[in-house]
Symmetry: C2
Subunit: 466 residues, 2 copies
């Protein structure tokens, strides 16, 4: 006991001594310095620093530069050696339904209506509850932290529970309470859901990590007045509006029949479109509609794996980019993906645009990486805070291993991030200056407990669909 | 020293005692028993055994059954506990160019001709040599063993070097010496290449792991007589013929112009098509041509990631399957993928067919897994030896971890193998009864040395294209 005390005292003495030295050398003490890595900044000039460093103090980034420059100016209470690794902004998943990880692989390869009516809806009717949503969010958060997602946008039920778990796990979230016309687990009526959304906004407004949002489900599951009530609520509080839009040809046909307008034009007619709206999928759109979305400053979330798995179609991502629409990338829920790996989403997004356009130059690695970082930040209206490594932005940073056989040799880190890297290569995840995972060990969640709890829920889910 | 000796003696004594017990209980001693796993057999009835076991003796499988049944009958000199893991046949990669891993990510997102003429051809002209090919094959073998590929089909230069390295690494290979009209690193003329191919055949005929093959490059890089000379050589020796076929619309147009026939019909007219031919890509084919390929018993290798990345097009895989063509899956070389992960190839194959057909039921998980196992074995004419776990087949077996957060919960192992598993989840790889990787440690290659050698080659490759 005495010996330990002596060691602690010696260490403390050392730190004090170092602090003095620091002051003498003019170094500023900060919380974390990440050094010796290849820093892919995603800043305005897309600077890649071969031997770079990032200094973090509290929740923010204070410097991004060559390693020797940063080390001369800053001393970290914690120093992270990123040798052989790539340091980049945390990935931004612009569309998911986090708790649906508990339905991962429950049913695949089915026609959409069979999948929904035989599996997803019955499972949701019998299992969605605050407990379920909490367990699912913890599992999703674990997977996101492990795979380098630092911000995610969500649409589900009991969203206040999702917000609490997201905050506890240390992730950043734009979390939208679902509004839907028919009775669901957390709301008997759309009015109930709107009240729940307002309570969520009140509870989390101004939170450092959680941006509350309103999530009207889609034009085919809500009537016009409810769509606009949701939108008005969001506008009144200045929070984002998340909606599924123009996902399938069925939705397009339904809109043409019911409203004599495309989904996008229908929302325009209602007065729904505007800054703060994030449209998920937006597959079935004309060039004129893309121009309209740009004019209304609507953000778009592209979900290539889900669109392929559900055979929804292929979004015209290159057209969105040419029109300068703020577009990001999403995984969608794990029931239609079946994971939350944003590296794979980048890769599939790139491959899909190439084959769609017949042009191998379409959506190259740099563009795919943009979608998953600064593009997603823009789509969510958060580009001043996240999406790139720049002084003054929040310290949402990931460090990615780049030395596996399948990543060897490395000619270009950006190519490798998109074409050969997986979520599992992420070694360290930092959000708002807090280390959530260090060298693959997640610090904010008890991994074994989270997995055990998910497996216990799976037994109930399976029973619900049998 | 004495103590160690005593322990060894005691252990040996114990083994002798166990052997006696085994004899007394009627158990047969075999080399390996893998037990307690979920065994996905891919046999004729696609049996999945929840708590299953596989007994291996020497190079072959002797039993596949419930764990208690196998354990009652067999005792393994080595027992592998596969609890929480899935045991399945080793994956079959039907098309790659192994040494091109050294060009991985050298250049991406370029139009095909720019990519070839500015990067790949100059790099090949200045770097391809026996040394280069050996280093590249070692890196590719490392990656394949780590990601569960146990058999691969290859087309490259100095193929005898590739054969030696493949055999040393313990992998199974169908290895084709490239025949091409213009001078290349290993042959000044097609006649040189044909002589080299014949030497390869002579050297490796009857080998337990290596099936030598002849690889005429494509219809647009070879004249008719040389194509047929290659085919005749393969026929005379009863070895496979590997060829790129109908990969791009350019190839289709060229064939129509030069030969007044599609690529498939041109080869038919030459008398090229027949059993033993493996056509890589086969994207641009009509239904009539698919029927012809079936009639001629030609195998097809589908390479979804390469076809997407190079914007070649989308092969009609569901039509091939409906026509009962022997079709397998390939990664293509790592210069156009950019890795050799067959799990990702399965996933992308499934997603791509769904979006191509607009039907989420197209190429489900079970079908994708077929492509990567028994389908590939059929395409290579090796279905009596590999592609499923059945007594009498070669012991090419992989054991895959299934407990990561992104794989939790698990409702269906086949869904998870296709939609959420990566090569890195493979824990153990066995080929021909030999353990090549045990719990992620590759036993037949010095990983650090292979990676260092690859990085040294990358310096020369980079210099070659600058």
């Amino acid at each position: 006991m005495k010996a330990r005390f002596a060691i602690v005292a010696a260490l403390l003495g050392g730190l004090v001594a170092l602090a003095v030295v620091s002051t003498q050398t003019g170094q500023r003490q900060v919380s974390i310095v990440i050094t010796n890595g290849t820093v892919v900044t995603m800043d305005g000039s897309r600077r890649v620093i071969a031997d770079g460093a990032v200094a973090i103090d509290g929740p923010g980034i204070v410097a991004v530069d060559a390693a020797d420059v940063v080390e001369r100016r800053f001393r970290g209470a914690e120093t992270i050696d990123a040798a052989g690794q790539v340091v980049l902004p945390g990935l931004v998943n612009t569309h998911t339904h986090a708790p649906m990880v508990l339905y991962r692989g429950l049913a695949d390869d089915l026609a959409l209506m069979e999948w929904l009516t035989k599996y997803i809806f019955p499972a949701e009717a019998k299992t969605v509850s605050p407990d379920f949503v909490r367990a699912g969010t913890r599992l999703a958060a674990l997977e996101m932290i492990q795979s380098g997602t630092t911000t995610y946008a969500d649409m589900y039920y009991f969203e206040e529970e999702i917000a609490r778990e997201t905050k506890a796990a240390g992730l950043r979230g734009v979390l939208g309470q679902t509004i839907i016309q028919f009775p669901v687990a957390d709301a008997k009526t759309p009015a109930d859901a709107l009240a729940r959304a307002e309570a969520l906004i009140t509870a989390f407004k101004g939170d450092a990590l959680i941006t509350p949002a309103v999530a009207p489900h889609a034009i085919y599951t809500l009537d016009g007045p409810t769509l606009m009530a949701a939108r008005t609520l969001a506008r009144r509080h200045g929070v984002p509006t998340l909606i599924h839009l123009a996902e399938t040809s069925d939705e397009l046909n339904t809109a043409q029949e019911r409203f004599k307008a495309s989904p996008v034009n229908y929302l325009e007619r209602l007065g729904f479109l505007g800054p703060g709206v994030l449209a998920a999928h937006a597959v079935w759109v004309s060039d004129a509609e893309i121009a309209l979305l740009r004019k209304r400053e609507v953000g778009v979330s592209h979900n290539p794996e889900s669109n392929m798995k559900l055979a929804s179609g292929t979004a015209p991502v290159t057209s969105y980019r040419a029109a300068e629409v703020a577009i990001g990338l999403g995984t969608d829920g794990a029931a239609s993906n079946n994971d939350l790996d944003m590296f794979e989403a980048m890769r599939v997004a790139s491959l899909l645009q190439k084959v769609r356009t017949g042009d191998p130059r379409a959506l190259g690695a740099a563009a795919a990486l943009e979608l998953a970082t600064i593009g997603g930040a823009r789509a969510l209206g958060m580009a001043s805070q996240i999406g790139s490594l720049e002084p003054g932005k929040r310290a949402d940073v990931i460090i990615v291993g780049m030395t596996a056989a399948r990543q060897t040799p490395m000619y270009d880190p950006v190519s490798h991030l998109v074409y050969t890297t997986r979520g599992d290569d992420v070694r360290t995840t930092i959000v708002n200056g807090r280390v959530l995972m260090r060298d693959r060990r997640v610090l904010t969640l008890d991994e074994a407990a989270v997995l055990a709890e998910a497996r216990a829920w799976a037994v109930k889910v399976r029973a619900a669909v049998n």
